[in-house]
């Protein structure tokens, strides 16, 4: 036996006995500590952990409500919801390197380098385990199919579906219908977080923006049990979302398409209104843009190309563009003067092609004026002043009427304010008076300002929507309805018609007669045809009342003749034409603007005729 000492079994056994039970005691103490800890966790703090466990397990997921659809007056879809697939990767479920998975995917479908970069950026962000990261948004149908078929070879790769807005009319309807766009960080600050918890898009322009509240619907919620991967194991409770309201517009998509193509490549706007209801039948602004791009999302340079274009495709000229109305304003001046007793239908003046205020040197010219002083319409009464569009007559009339009376009267036609019920971001235009000029320019109103205003120039600015409204006011003989986009199902909620006070029924009829002459009075010689007759009136089969306007963009110096062709394109005159038909029982009123288009009768009137023909001829044919 090694060692210096002999083994002493008895002592050893005794020592061991003490040691063993001491260590046993120590172990039991450790066990007691554990029991205390478990008591703390499971009994004392039970509720804390119970809550935490429920929080783990139960997820309240917002459920997006389907966005309301938008239809035209005949039920044609103008804005629909389409299912869009996107490709996502769950990193935790992939085999091996994520780069291998991506290259395997790009062997099957095309993946852009920028998409891979964006993916890696998202991958680096902190996220919960098993959260899917999108790699490619908006898969084509066959791409989604390829991925689904090869799903078993691509662990962690999945295809998910969301509903995205689609506008079948594309750029044709863009300015009327508007568009939605992805909710941005800025949007989130002003949107109701709860209501929009499941929403990805918000109305940005047009109907989509104005009716955002009703289109959006009510978000639903479901309580689901999820596993750690975030996968829903079962649904515990569902409060279904309420689908957004569908909207039916007064818009006539056929007329809209026709109006869009009638403008051609010219910059301009067309608004057509049903005078009976105030419903907007067509609203076109060119150039336009594809609203689907906003749904898809644009790269910043793509967006910049749109927003920085000199042609302003994003600008809705129909409701935001403000222009001098030119001669289209003359019927209002005439009615104002007649109803105020400033003139009568019989009174005549001599138009020699120019006008001077008493005691002033400045010459105000007629459009027919020539440096040789050969222009002028001769003897004109109000009726002739309308169909010949005599400037001199209205210079004189406005001067006698004075600005205040004219301004108050014109306001009844919806000028100087936004009278539309539901047009998004419609501009007010400017209906000037003394107070306005003092406030805006810090200057007194001069009589010369009234002279200019008499022919729809000067400070007066209107939008195409406002001029279409003016046309519909004439069509309705003063008892007009506010313009509106959406058909209200209940007629009683329709706005009660506004009314123009002053002119008698006879005054209206005489003025409308005069406006019919603009189109229909022909074969009377160069000096006595309606201004638009030679362009649109010769073969017309229905009665149309109209008024042309040619609005100056730049001031013309005294005594100068200028050559339209020499001016920069953007300095040429704007061409206007307002019209309604059939003139005794109008069903459509229209305003056509061609920016820098030149003469209203020669450029804008044929467009108006094309649209009225398209709208009326089938009706006339079917009534026969």
């Amino acid at each position: 036996m090694p060692g210096n000492q002999l083994k002493n079994s008895r002592v050893e056994a005794r020592t061991f006995f003490v040691r063993a039970w001491t260590l046993f005691g120590g172990a039991v103490v450790l066990a007691v500590i554990l029991v205390v800890r478990l008591f703390q966790l499971q009994v004392l703090e039970y509720e804390v952990y119970e809550t935490r466990s429920e929080h783990n397990r139960i997820e309240v997921q917002p459920v997006a409500a389907g966005r309301g659809l938008i239809f035209d007056r005949r039920g044609v879809l103008l804005a629909e919801n389409r299912s869009v697939s996107s490709l996502e990767i769950v990193e935790e479920r992939t085999d091996g390197e994520i780069a291998e998975t991506i290259s395997a995917v790009s062997d099957l479908i095309e993946i852009q380098r920028s998409e891979i970069e964006a993916f890696h950026k998202r991958l680096k962000r902190r996220r919960r385990p098993y959260q899917a990261i999108p790699l490619k948004l908006r898969l084509l149908e066959h791409e989604a199919a390829i991925i689904r078929v090869n799903g078993h070879l691509l662990p962690g790769v999945q295809v998910s579906n969301i509903a995205a807005r689609h506008y079948p009319l594309g750029e044709i309807g863009a300015h009327a219908i508007g568009s939605v766009r992805r909710i941005t960080a800025d949007d989130l600050k002003r949107l109701d977080q709860t209501r929009y918890a499941a929403t990805r898009y918000v109305g940005r322009r047009g109907i989509e923006a104005f009716y955002e509240h009703s289109l959006h619907g009510q978000v639903g919620h479901r309580r689901v049990e999820v596993d750690v991967r975030g996968r829903v194991v079962r649904e515990l409770e569902l409060s279904a979302p309420e689908k957004g309201a569908d909207l039916r517009l007064h818009l006539d998509s056929r007329l809209q398409i026709l109006a869009y193509s009638a403008l051609g490549d010219r910059r301009g706007a067309i608004v057509a209104i049903d005078p009976g209801s105030g419903g907007i039948l067509a609203m076109v602004s060119r150039p336009s843009y594809d609203p689907n791009l906003f749904v898809r999302g644009m790269k910043s340079d793509e967006y910049r190309t749109l927003s920085d274009s000199r042609e302003l495709p994003l600008f809705n000229r129909a409701v935001q563009g403000q222009y001098a109305p030119g001669s289209t304003f003359k019927p209002i001046v005439g009615l104002a003067a007649v109803s105020k007793g400033v003139t009568s239908w019989d009174e005549t003046i001599v138009d020699r092609g120019w006008f001077k205020l008493q005691g002033q040197q400045r010459i105000y010219r007629d459009w027919s004026w020539t440096p040789e002083d050969a222009g002028g319409q001769g003897i004109v009464d109000l009726r002739r002043a309308i169909y010949r569009s005599s400037n001199v007559y209205f210079y004189d009339l406005a001067t006698r009427l004075k600005v205040d009376a004219l301004s108050v009267f014109a306001h009844q036609f919806g000028l100087g304010s936004d009278t539309a019920i539901d047009v998004y971001a419609a501009a007010d235009g400017i209906l000037p008076n003394r107070d306005w000029k003092y406030g805006a320019q810090g200057e007194d109103w001069y009589t010369g300002d009234t002279v200019n205003m008499g022919i729809g120039q000067g400070y007066l600015l209107v939008t195409p929507l406002q001029l279409a409204t003016v046309a519909s006011v004439f069509a309705a003989r003063g008892r007009w309805k506010q313009p509106r986009m959406v058909m209200s199902g209940d007629e009683s909620t329709e706005n009660s018609p506004a009314s123009v006070s002053g002119p008698s029924d006879k005054d209206w009829e005489l003025m409308i007669d005069a406006m019919e002459e603009v189109v229909h009075r022909g074969d009377r010689g160069v000096g006595d045809n309606g201004t638009a007759w030679s362009y649109i009136g010769q073969d017309i089969t229905y009665r149309m009342a109209g008024k042309s306007g040619t609005a100056q963009v730049v001031g013309i110096n005294q005594g100068e003749q200028y050559d339209e062709a020499e001016l920069d394109e953007f300095e040429r005159k704007h061409a206007w034409f307002i019209a309604f038909a059939p003139s005794d029982e109008p069903v459509i009123a229209i305003a056509v603007l061609v920016e820098n288009g030149g003469g209203g009768s020669s450029v804008a009137a044929p467009i108006a005729r094309e649209i009225l023909d398209a709208y009326l001829l089938p009706r006339i044919a079917s009534n026969r």
Partner: protein, 377 residues
């Protein structure tokens, strides 16, 4: 003063009279709580693996194999273990080195050895049995308490395999192997003063150990232990989820197969190292306490057997194997309940895993053998 010699002889005599069959060496008092633990273990395992019958069958087969091995181990005379101890130790060390050279890696740790003709196993688990045997063999015929140099050698015998295992890296098993050797030394009668001084002397090595031997992930686990919320989705995840599972079980638990934390996979390693959280979640405080009491019963019986053993080797081996088993359980529960950093130790006889269960059953076979052969010198 009591006559301790009489204490064990009288017990042995009494026991021998009770024994009816000399070929039956299993100890019913030890076997009963062990079977209870395994029963609870299989039940909860079935729940933790989402009632996958194949895994349950697999584990049951391993436990049966372990039971057979235990029966055989109990039948062998303790002298066999004493003589075989150095050989087993050598085989163990060689296989640990083999793990290093060509072991199988799983979850970032090289623990398994795939040898031809043998099932895949973890040499580190076998070392949990071999180290107490070897240290006891080394000390058994020396006068006790051992001299300092002997203590040093004894501790080295444990430290070499423990160090190898920690480098795998498997800190939990390494600690348990070291504890196995340490417990033998403590039981051998080393003076309390020496224990105290030794611990004091080791203290300066803690920082050295921290900087030289711990991996980044091990350090991170220690940091997140003190503040799990600092990395709730990373290293703190398992401890947050396991305390949540335990705490949400409450007094009576959510019911078997009803634990959401495990059923919905929030709890990681729910069938291996964190199976205690499943017990706590589904069977509640009551279930956890029951299991702890069963472990205490096993330890009490084991210590009783150790105290009654007729020779030094038997005493040391039975005491060490029993205490290590209990420390193993305590360590696992302490990890799961967030009292100590995550170390990766299975819950003995409950966690899924064959090598560990078989090794533990064999070790209790040895304890039973020590008990049933104590009269036969």
């Amino acid at each position: 003063m009591r006559d301790y010699t009489r204490y064990w002889t009288s017990g042995a005599l009494l026991h021998r009279d009770e024994r009816q069959n000399d070929n039956f060496h299993l100890d019913p008092m030890l076997l009963l709580p062990l079977l209870c633990i395994m029963g609870i273990g299989l039940t909860v395992l079935y729940s933790a693996v989402h009632q996958d019958l194949s895994i349950l069958e697999n584990q049951t087969a391993k436990l049966l194999a372990g039971f057979i091995a235990m029966t055989f181990a109990a039948w062998l005379h303790p002298g066999v273990y004493r003589r075989l101890a150095p050989l087993l130790y050598a085989i163990g060390l060689i296989s640990l080195v083999a793990v290093f050279l060509f072991g199988t890696t799983a979850k970032g740790s090289q623990r398994w050895l795939d040898l031809p003709l043998l099932p895949r196993f973890q040499p580190s688990e076998l070392m949990k049995v071999t180290v107490p045997l070897t240290v006891a063999w080394f000390l058994h015929d020396r006068p006790l308490p051992p001299r300092t140099i002997e203590v040093g050698i004894a501790l080295l015998l444990a430290a070499i395999p423990a160090g190898l295992v920690v480098r795998q890296p498997d800190l939990g098993t390494g600690i348990l192997i070291m504890a196995g050797g340490l417990v033998v030394v403590l039981l051998s009668g080393i003076r309390w003063r020496s224990i105290f001084l030794g611990a004091l002397a080791l203290l300066p090595f803690v920082p050295a150990y921290w900087y030289l031997f711990l991996n980044e992930y091990q350090k991170k686990r220690v940091f997140t232990f003190f503040d799990p919320e600092s990395d709730p989705l990373g290293a703190g995840w398992s401890i947050i989820q396991s305390t949540t599972a335990l705490g949400s079980g409450g007094l009576l638990g959510k019911g078997l197969f009803e634990g959401t934390q495990s059923r919905l996979d929030f709890l990681p390693e729910s069938h291996t190292d964190f199976i205690m959280a499943v017990i706590g979640e589904e069977l509640g405080f009551i279930g956890v306490i029951t299991l702890i009491i069963l472990y205490v019963l096993v330890m009490a019986r084991g210590m009783h057997i150790a105290v009654q053993a007729g020779d030094t080797f038997g005493r040391l081996v039975a005491g060490s194997l029993t205490l290590t088993f209990f420390v193993n359980a305590i360590l696992n529960i302490a990890v799961v309940s967030g009292l100590v950093p995550v170390t990766g130790a299975p819950l003995p006889l409950v966690s899924f895993g064959g090598t560990s269960a078989i090794a533990l059953l064999v070790s209790f076979g040895i304890v039973m053998s020590i008990h049933s052969h104590r009269g036969w010198r």
